[in-house]
């Protein structure tokens, strides 16, 4: 007889598997429709899953709202661009790059990893200062960090190209590449949440004082989560760059920040499944509304929403969801296989 506790643990372990399968089904369904625009929407959605899951690693576990994660996306995107662009192109567009980077001609995968790693390094350094703050002060400090990165990126012309976009990125990101990163993010998020540091961090979220009294060093656990989360946001930024082919600091500023935040909160900040479901729900809703704005033929009649109404409808829908489900669609629950299944399988093992 398997104990209740073991069953719970086995169920929890199925969460990443179920989420990965969900994403796989999503990709297959999108590709089965055979529409290139839908396939692009699927890739874009999975890039967002990578970033929002990364974002959740910090926000979900620590309970601190960060406005700074779009900046990590910006850093990741530019690092990947610096490493993969043809050296002769960099010589004309970005003459201020240091010799070593200017000569680099990396493969895209290590460049994306490097993008994430540099973002994580920046997070480690800035987080060491910012995360000493608590609550709303920490949030504002992350926002100030975002504004600083944006200002520097928009004006450090010889290295970042300034407001002039960096062009010519290899557009290799398809739904499968994005799926790989999204699943990696989900796995790491699960492992982190289940590890001692993740547990300790959630303890500080629930009760700061009690956690401190139990000898938990809040700062250290927060910094770890912040660094990990910056890695996936940085890698996600690199993916965005190689998805669109052109990057500009403006693409990694307030609208991305709020998009990530909205997806996380609509899905439910309390669980990893919430992060994934939020991205899927909002992305699919946007796509559906966009199609309806274009016009949908039902029989002989064509029905179309007036232009510009998509954003309004979506915003109102978000407000309604938050009114009726203030903890988000998943309300803190995880998707997992039912107890019967894991218990059944366990009994055959024994």
């Amino acid at each position: 007889m398997t104990s209740q506790h073991t069953i719970r643990r086995r169920m929890a372990a199925t969460t990443p598997v179920v989420l990965a399968l969900l994403l796989l089904v999503f990709v297959l369904a999108a590709l089965a429709l055979g529409d290139r625009a839908i396939a692009r929407m699927a890739a874009e959605t999975l890039i967002r899953v990578t970033m929002v899951v990364g974002f959740w690693i910090f926000v979900g576990n620590s309970g601190v709202v960060s406005f700074g994660h779009a900046a990590f996306g910006c850093i990741g995107a530019y690092v990947s661009a610096w490493l993969t662009l043809k050296p002769e192109m960099k010589a004309t567009l970005l003459p201020g790059l240091p010799e070593m980077i200017a000569a680099a001609d990396w493969h895209v995968l290590p460049a994306a990893v490097a993008g994430g790693a540099v973002a994580a390094l920046v997070a480690l350094v800035t987080g060491a200062a910012i995360l000493r703050l608590s609550g709303i002060a920490a949030s504002i400090a992350t926002f100030a960090f975002l504004a600083m990165v944006n200002t520097i990126w928009a004006n450090w012309t010889s290295v970042t190209g300034g407001t002039s976009s960096v062009v010519g990125l290899d557009r290799y990101v398809n739904p499968w590449v994005a799926l790989g990163w999204a699943v990696a993010a989900i796995l790491v998020a699960t492992l982190h949440a289940a590890a001692a540091s993740g547990l300790a961090l959630r303890a500080t979220r629930e009760d700061e004082v009690a956690a401190a009294a139990s000898g938990i060093d809040r700062f250290r656990h927060r910094l770890l989560a912040y660094t990990l989360s910056a890695f996936f946001c940085g890698a996600g930024g690199a993916l965005i760059g190689h998805f669109i082919g052109v990057i500009n600091p403006d693409g990694f500023y307030l609208s991305l920040t709020f998009l990530m935040l909205a997806m996380l909160v609509i899905g439910g900040v309390g669980s990893l499944s919430g992060a994934v479901v939020g991205v899927l729900a909002l992305s699919i809703a946007v796509e559906a509304l966009v199609r309806m704005e274009k016009g949908v033929s039902i029989g002989a009649a064509t029905f179309a929403l007036p232009p510009g109404s998509q954003e309004i409808i979506l915003a109102v829908a978000m407000i309604l969801i938050l009114i009726f489900r203030p903890s988000g669609l998943m309300a803190g629950r995880e998707v997992m296989l039912p107890a019967r299944w894991v218990a059944g399988r366990a009994s055959t093992e024994t």
Binding site: R36, A154, N155, T157, G162, S165, V246, V290
Partner: protein, 389 residues
């Protein structure tokens, strides 16, 4: 109405009733870019209607398909794919480089021609998209250089102050052109420069710095766009600074003049005058056609590039005898001072943009804009100056 015209055209030329030639518009039909894309797209339609009425292109009628970029980078690429799936054989993309490039890259990937509706950044072409991409507008640095040389020649400008809005690349381009041209001119000197951001609520500190100069500069080169430009002008004049203010084409239009009533000494270079005083009959004819189609005159000169791009592309297609991207590009690149309704245009294998252009000079006096002159810079802006800012 368009259908009717098309049907009539088909009836008139039964022998030519072959498959339509499709042009895809991946442009912003919602979001803030819409206000800039729609006039230029409307102008493009006017030229398409004219071509169709005259029997079409290569004997085929031009059909237009559209998709909305929603003023969003990722949606722009999707809009590009969308018009591609609707059978587009040439793609017209958003006015701004950033919002047009993702769609233009899709076209480039198919070996198709793409035209930016009115991008003025050198990257909107070979440098930022690929060999088959073009823009019909005039590079921002040319506008700045035109202002520098004209003000020096016609208004004895010897001292200039540069006020740069660092918000978008276009502004920096205007200043690049001005800073390249003005110091080369006889006895001319840039006496100071400063920056601001388009959404700054006040530019009082920047104004104080200008007022601290020993002498008021002859001209102030304001590299900005709306709404920040209007706000800066209002504050400059309110502070009693009366220098001639020079600008790029982006501030053309009388719609914002209410912001500074009785504004005088304000100069804009444009491709054609929307104020009914352009001496060229083709411009007047276009303005009338635009008014007939939309009920209003163009709100700014940014309608014109839409007309030019279809005009030039159609000529190149006729010469190439095909819509194949590479073949049309070859013909486009042969164009040297090709006449259009709005002045001559050239393309080369290095630059799919205008690095010099005949520009109309619009001056605002007592709140009334009027064409006062025309000017073409004495030497084209070199590629080095365009690329290395």
């Amino acid at each position: 109405m368009k259908r009717l015209a098309l049907a009539l055209a088909l009836l008139a030329h039964p022998a030519l009733a072959q498959e339509d030639l499709t042009v895809g518009f991946a442009i912003a039909k919602s979001g803030w870019m819409e206000a800039y894309d729609t006039p230029a797209a409307t102008a493009a339609m006017i030229r398409i209607d004219e071509i169709n009425a005259a029997g079409g292109l290569l004997g085929r009628q031009i059909k237009v398909v559209e998709a909305d970029t929603r003023t969003d980078r990722a949606e722009s690429a999707k809009a590009g794919l969308d018009v591609l799936d609707q059978g587009a054989e040439m793609m017209v993309v958003s006015c701004d480089y950033d919002f047009g490039a993702p769609a233009a890259l899709v076209a480039e990937g198919e070996g198709m021609n793409s035209f930016f509706l009115c991008a003025e950044d050198v990257k909107a072409g070979i440098q930022g998209v690929g060999p088959n991409s073009f823009s019909a507008s005039v590079l921002a640095p040319v506008q700045g250089a035109t202002m520098a040389e004209w003000a020096h020649a016609k208004r004895e400008a010897r001292t200039a102050y540069v006020l740069e809005d660092t918000f978008i690349e276009y502004n920096k381009g205007i200043c690049t052109g001005f800073n390249w041209m003005f110091p080369q001119l006889d006895g001319a000197k840039i006496v100071g420069s400063d920056t601001f951001k388009n959404d700054d609520a006040s530019v009082a500190s920047q104004i104080t710095r200008i007022k601290e100069l020993p002498d008021e500069p002859d001209v102030i080169m304001l590299c900005s766009f709306m709404p920040g430009a209007a706000a800066a002008v209002r504050q400059l004049r309110a502070a009693g600074i009366n220098s001639l203010i020079l600008n790029g084409s982006a501030v053309d239009g009388s719609y914002w003049l209410e912001a500074t009533p009785d504004l005088s000494g304000f100069v804009v270079p444009v491709q054609g005058s929307i104020y009914g005083d352009d001496p060229r009959p083709e411009v007047a004819a276009f303005n009338a056609a635009y008014k007939a189609k939309t009920g209003n005159s163009p709100a700014s000169q940014y309608a014109y590039p839409g007309y030019i791009l279809i005009d030039l592309w159609a000529k190149a297609v006729e010469r190439a005898g095909t819509v194949d991207g590479a073949a049309v590009t070859v013909e486009l690149e042969k164009m040297r001072d090709e006449p259009t309704a709005f002045g001559p245009r050239s393309f080369t294998s290095e630059l799919h943009h205008q690095n010099t252009a005949l520009m109309q000079i619009i001056e605002i006096t007592g709140g009334k804009p009027a064409r006062v002159d025309e000017w073409r810079i004495s030497q084209p802006v070199p590629l080095d100056a365009l690329m290395n800012k």
